[in-house]
């Protein structure tokens, strides 16, 4: 996009709207003629503060040139009205014959942008007007740019959220297969590199996949979209976690830049048979929370995805009882870079998850975050995802 050609862009002084406020007709005329000589022809005049505020309430100005000592409403009051009640951010150039430092400080305090002394120096007046108008144009340009970026990020964010399965999608796959899942996802920079999915494998089994693309923000999100496209095609491998991750890895190696990679966990769960087969690629090992109160960190490790085309992954298996639960999470949950000593261990997480899961599914994620970090909207430096899968749906 080319900012230099955005709509309200212009270098034409005749299009800058200037309001001149002074109770002396001779002063108004003097300022007006100086500005006109410099090409500023779009001028409006007010004879005191009340007139100025009335005019500003009905019209738009790009800058105000304001006298301080005026009947009815003085310049200080006009400044306050403009900033507080009208909430305008236009530049206010105060002109004053009072030389005391106090008056100047007071003018800035109530919102003046700059001060010119009377008697006016025509060259200085024009220079200051030009400077403030240019500054205003630049701020406007940055503001419009920022607004547009935010709009685009918001649009991308809703696209990314739409990648994640909704509660109905999850229930449609898990419920008939004897399981239920509670999920949480939050990107640290609007867009993120975390993604999770569920797939049906056959009549009794389903697969769950969680991935964390390195980095955050836009580039990580683009890679998350790529992963989403790749995994849609990994259908033949769905029943085999090791083959599935190896195939995803092979597809990612040519796509991801050298210093980018992904960590992932993929599991095939058979609730009826009480078995889970899984493979891990650099992801934090998920936890099994046993129905009897015990917990274990799943063994099995594998190379991060996207670095080595012929990397192999190991398939492990674990028995799951009807009251057991699986908790998978991204590293943002336990890593605390501000305060490394405060980083959580698997045991801290297991105990917190068990306590909150025992209290039911309602608001589980908010309660877990509150228990671990003091509040449900705690901020994280990285994208955070966690999944809690129970085999015995209530």
């Amino acid at each position: 996009m080319d900012l230099a050609h955005s709509q309200s862009e212009h270098d034409d002084p005749a299009r800058d709207r200037i309001l001149i406020v002074d109770d002396q007709a001779s002063s108004r005329l003097l300022i007006g003629s100086v500005l006109e000589a410099a090409g500023y022809t779009c001028l409006a005049y007010a004879g005191d503060g009340v007139e100025a505020i009335e005019w500003l309430a009905a019209n738009t100005a790009d800058i105000v040139i304001l006298d301080i000592r005026m009947p009815r409403m003085d310049g200080f009051e006009v400044c306050r009205e403009i900033r507080c009640r009208l909430a305008l951010d236009l530049p206010i150039l105060v002109q004053t014959g009072i030389q005391e430092a106090d008056c100047r400080v007071d003018a800035f305090k109530v919102g003046a942008s700059d001060i010119v002394s009377k008697p006016l120096n025509p060259g200085e007046l024009v220079s200051r007007v030009r400077l403030h108008l240019e500054r205003r144009r630049m701020i406007g340009r940055l503001q419009r740019y920022q607004d547009r970026m935010e709009d685009e990020l918001r649009a991308a964010q809703s696209m990314q959220l739409a990648l994640l399965p909704g509660p109905e999608d999850v229930a449609a796959i898990l419920q008939p297969r004897g399981a239920a899942m509670t999920t949480f996802y939050r990107a640290s920079h609007m867009l993120g590199g975390d993604l999770w999915q569920v797939f049906p494998v056959d009549g009794t089994r389903f697969a769950v996949f969680m991935v964390d693309l390195s980095g955050h923000g836009v580039s990580a999100a683009i890679n998350a979209f790529r992963v989403n496209m790749i995994t849609a095609g990994l259908v033949r491998e769905r029943a085999d976690p090791d083959r599935w991750l190896a195939a995803l890895n092979r597809a990612l190696v040519p796509i991801l830049p050298v210093e980018h990679f992904a960590t992932a966990f993929y599991a095939v769960i058979d609730a009826a048979a009480g078995e889970m087969r899984y493979a891990v690629a650099g992801a934090p090992p998920p936890l099994i929370l046993r129905g009897d109160g015990g917990w274990e960190e799943l063994p099995g490790r594998g190379l991060i995805l996207g670095c080595l085309a012929d990397a192999e992954y190991e398939c492990s298996s674990v028995q799951l009882g009807p009251q057991d639960q699986l908790f998978a999470y991204s590293d943002a949950l336990y890593e605390d870079f501000e305060n490394p000593e405060a980083s959580l261990g698997a045991g801290d997480i297991a105990i917190a998850v068990q306590a909150e899961a025992a209290a039911g599914n309602d608001a589980f994620s908010a309660r877990l975050l509150t228990r671990l970090f003091g509040r449900p909207d705690a901020e994280f430096r990285d994208d955070l995802t966690f999944l809690l899968i129970g085999l015995n749906a209530p």
Partner: protein
Amino acid sequence: MEYRSEFTGSPVVVMIEGVLTFDDHERFRELVGILADQAPGPVVFDLSGLTMIDSAGIGMLIMANDRIVKRGGGLRLRGVSGQVAKVVELSRIEQLIPID
């Protein structure tokens, strides 16, 4: 992140200290640039003074390895401990970069 090295000898040993995260990207690239110019042979990153690393940090190690291997050298890591050892172990990067 801070690094210290004489950039002489074989291997060239670089002490990497502090915390290696996304914020150190520029500084780390500067280090890799110096190594590319001044260290044609094998390189060792001594991480015994490194207390924490994030996924971007792991990515930077992989990038350094790629650059060093491509110009005919080799990179090894040593002195990993604590959180760094845990992340390195989870990521299995010893399959890419040998760890002493």
